[in-house]
């Protein structure tokens, strides 16, 4: 019970405006999509003929990883 009040005080004192949940979710999504992209490009580099098979898989993985950030965005837009 005390900890959320402390957290809110810390956030207000630091002058943070905006949503921490959205920030953390965006960071996680960015890292995830970057990793998927890196692995996809590496796979195409190892086997350039498989580009047509790798591309839908990579896009699917990126959309799934980005969905978590979208959930946080919706919560933020609806007023937490």
């Amino acid at each position: 019970m005390i900890t959320p009040l402390l957290l809110a005080e810390a956030v207000a004192a630091a002058g943070v405006s905006g949503s921490i949940a959205l920030g953390v979710a965006g960071m996680g999504a960015g890292i995830g999509i970057g990793l998927i992209g890196a692995k996809a490009v590496e796979a195409v580099g190892r086997n350039p003929g498989a580009f047509g098979k790798i591309l839908p898989l990579a896009i699917l993985g990126m959309a799934l990883a980005e969905a978590i950030a979208i959930y946080a965005l919706i919560m933020n837009l609806l007023g937490k």
Binding site: I59, L60, A63, L64, A67, Y71, I74, G79
Partner: protein, 307 residues
């Protein structure tokens, strides 16, 4: 006797002439997702919201184009028939590769319809006029940017009702296909049963663990319609808000009239391309995920039939 309507409208919120005002400032940032459009006093049409009107238009466009293309089917197709054939063949081959030959006949009609509808609905929301023509109030003179509060048309998939409806329909069909293909007992064994080929005492000891794994699996299956609908809704709604913010960027930064008009034409161009791409990707992801869910629960039929 005098009949009187009770319209519940404030005289200072809405202009008393209901002519739609052309506005280049679109939705406010916290755009509500639908409006009750027929509030002129017609009580039976309250379900007709802006996005439902856009839904009817999208469906009308798809049906009209499809009928035009398949009017006279020929062996060597003309251009419009060729487009539809290409879409059908690509979808069929992709879905057959994922779902398997034994399921693709039943599954293809729903998933292909979902793909074409979601794609057309996403791209329909990018047309100029969707979300920016409607009722509102004018700030200043006519040359200033008006503020639209009730658009006439809104993108279909930017309405959580629509995406949730599509996801729930898919889940109902998923349940039906799973149970008709695999059977109730086999499905329960697949979820809660002991995996890995263990028999005997080890199986009895590990059974509670697998039971709880099955419970978690059921929760994850129950989460699927929520994630499907929220992903599509979030992407399209956020894209719509992003476009609106970019278009009204000059106005919010307080630039003079000519500069804000120039900015509102040039700045959204890359974001329009982004929204085109996002619309295509989200439709593809929705249908690919649906087909993967079907494959996950109906696929072990093949493994057992091969011996």
């Amino acid at each position: 006797m005098v009949l009187s309507f009770d319209c519940e409208m404030d005289a200072d919120t809405f202009p008393m002439n209901f002519l739609p005002i052309l506005a280049s400032g679109g939705l406010p940032l916290h755009a509500p997702t639908y409006f009750s459009e027929e509030r002129m006093g017609v009580p039976y049409l309250e379900w007709l919201t802006s996005s439902m009107l856009a839904t009817f238009l999208v469906v009308g466009i798809i049906i009209y184009l499809a009928r035009q293309a398949t009017r006279q089917l020929e062996i060597i197709p003309g251009p419009s028939q060729n487009v539809f054939e290409a879409v059908m063949v690509i979808l069929y081959d992709t879905l057959e590769g994922i779902v398997g030959k034994h399921m693709v006949g039943k599954v293809f009609s729903l998933l292909a319809t979902l793909f074409i509808f979601i794609l057309t609905a996403n791209w329909f929301g990018l047309l100029p006029g969707v979300g920016s023509i409607g009722w509102g109030h004018v700030e200043g003179s006519f040359r200033n940017i008006a503020h639209v509060e009730e658009p006439i048309l809104r993108p279909t998939t930017a309405d959580l009702n629509m995406t949730l409806g599509m996801a729930l329909v898919f889940m109902c069909f998923w349940v039906y296909w799973t149970f008709s293909e695999v059977g109730l007992v086999s499905f329960l064994k697949h979820e809660f049963g002991v995996k890995g080929g263990l028999t005997g005492a080890m199986a009895v000891m590990l059974a509670p663990i697998f039971f709880f794994v099955g419970i978690i699996e059921v929760v994850s299956i129950g989460f699927r319609p929520i994630s499907l609908s929220l992903r599509l809704f979030g992407n399209v709604f956020a894209g719509e808000n992003l476009l609106t913010t970019m278009i009204t960027l000059g106005n919010t930064l307080g630039m003079p009239g000519w500069a804000s008009a120039l900015v509102s034409v040039i700045v959204p161009i890359p974001f329009y391309f982004l929204e085109l791409l996002v619309g295509l990707i989200q439709a593809m992801v929705f249908v690919l995920l649906c087909s993967v869910y079907i494959q996950l629960s109906t696929s072990h039929d093949e493994g057992e039939a091969q011996h």
